[in-house]
């Protein structure tokens, strides 16, 4: 198990009244699942009715080799490495 922090964007911090969620997990999917359990309201905010990330939600994994967008992955079962961090961002287009 790896200790990992999920950083929340400012607008979500306003609604959920927390800036981050700290969990222990082995994979990205496991970390997100643990965060949903630890932070009521986080899951319906990030996931649509089908259980996928909402259209304008970005989930980024900051690794030693750079930032990995979860949308580039075939599966969220990507193993975590100590020192990595998950950052949730809103991908809002427009000026």
């Amino acid at each position: 198990m790896v200790a990992i922090r999920i950083e929340l964007p400012a607008v979500l911090t306003v609604a959920l009244r927390r800036e981050h969620v700290d969990v222990q997990a082995e994979t990205l999917a496991g970390a997100l699942s643990a965060a949903y359990d630890a932070c009521p309201g986080l899951a319906p905010a990030l996931l649509d009715e089908s259980g996928a990330f909402r259209e304008h939600v970005l989930c980024l994994l900051e690794t030693a080799d750079g930032t990995l967008n979860s949308r580039w992955l075939d599966s969220l079962e990507r193993p975590l490495v100590a020192g990595e961090r998950i950052v949730i961002m809103q991908a809002v287009s427009g000026g």
Binding site: A10, V11, L12, V14, A15, L16, R17, P40, G41, P44, A45, L46, D48, E49, S50, G51, R54, H56, V57, Q90, A91, V92
Partner: protein, 351 residues
């Protein structure tokens, strides 16, 4: 009576506190939920606050708390089951009925909470209605925005569908729109296709209901089985909010030039008042600006039951009257687009 006015905007909520002394200054604080649309606010039977917020990115949330300084999101906000194929974009109205609370939402549907807003159950009888595949959105979306309840009876106003009525607590529904101009006629279902904008009932005679529609102001004396036009004195058939001071028996509306232009007629911001149950309407403009081209949106007007009338507009201006609309003053601040306005006594309803 100490009064707080909660103003929901596209970027948070603001709270105005009415001065207790004549001539005193209104106080404003906020925003609550900065960055979030605040589309509805209510207090439950115990006096706790319930706020509905939504975000283009994160969907709809419900928050509740004993004070405005201590509001927490609930774990299980209204949400459609995946199998239905509907999206829950926003809560348009929160309606308290005793210990129950209803939420009317976009995409159009109805949810009920039996635990003071902590969890919500969909009223499937409405979303499973045979006409549902033929419902279509208005300019503001496909939304259930006004609710009336009396025992097992529910009237639910949906744009652009009309008024749906249930006599069995939401299990079965029928359209109640006879007499109202149909905007887009359905080939088969003749009781939908109207576009109701607001709904208000007489608590002393719940079968008597007024509705501001897309194409007219109407009244019914029989719970919506038949509606009649009542727009003598109104400058247009189009507008959004409609509220009633039940003690004074005064109705208030905010007509707009037309559905094409959607601003006050000739730029003259006016609230129209009727003191004869809608038979006639008079403009209330004393203190309101000329050259005003902002609409007053659907939920953006309220009364406090003690002569106070309040509204906000799409330009972020908020106005108050303490004398049933005879005179108006603009409240401090220049806010984002105003979505909803509610008036509350500062003491809890049950206190």
């Amino acid at each position: 009576m100490p009064i707080q006015i909660v103003v929901g905007t596209v970027k948070g909520a603001f709270v105005f506190t009415k001065p207790e002394a004549a001539g005193g200054e209104w106080a404003i604080k906020g925003p609550l939920f900065p960055g979030w649309k605040v589309s509805a606010v209510a207090r439950d039977q115990a006096g706790e606050w319930v706020f509905a917020t939504s975000s283009y990115v994160y969907g709809a949330m419900i928050h509740r708390g004993a004070s405005l300084e201590d509001l927490s999101n609930v774990e299980a906000p209204p949400r459609y089951d995946e199998s239905q194929g509907f999206k829950l974009n926003e809560v348009w109205t929160l309606h308290r009925d005793g210990e129950r609370m209803f939420a009317g939402v976009d995409e159009a549907g109805l949810f009920v909470s039996e635990d003071r807003g902590a969890s919500w159950q969909e009223v499937r009888g409405l979303t499973d209605h045979e006409t549902r595949p033929k419902w279509f959105p208005g300019f503001g979306g496909l939304c259930a925005h006004h609710l009336l309840t009396r025992g097992d009876e529910i009237w639910c106003a949906i744009s652009a569908v009309g008024v749906m009525h249930s006599g069995d607590g939401g299990k079965t529904w029928t359209g109640r729109n006879a007499g109202v101009k149909v905007l887009i006629e359905d080939e088969k279902h003749k009781d939908i296709g109207t576009c109701v904008h607001a709904l208000v009932a007489d608590p002393d005679d719940p079968e008597r209901i007024w509705r501001q529609d897309h194409a007219g102001m109407y009244r019914t004396h029989d719970g919506g089985r038949q509606w009649d036009l009542i727009q003598d004195g109104l400058p247009s058939t189009f507008g959004f909010p409609l509220v009633r001071d039940h003690g004074a028996k005064a109705l208030f509306s905010a007509p707009l030039d037309s559905d094409q232009f959607r601003y006050p007629t000739n730029g003259e911001l006016a609230i129209f008042r009727s003191t004869d149950d809608g038979d006639s309407w008079q403009a209330c403009t004393n203190g309101l600006p000329m050259d005003s081209y902002h609409a007053v949106l659907r939920q953006a007007m309220a009364v406090d039951g003690a002569g106070g009338v309040y509204f906000g507009n799409a330009g972020g201006e908020v106005f108050a009257s303490g004398d049933l609309g005879d005179t108006w003053q603009r409240l401090p601040g220049s806010l984002p687009r105003v979505l909803c306005v509610e008036a509350f006594e500062t003491t809890a309803p049950g206190a």
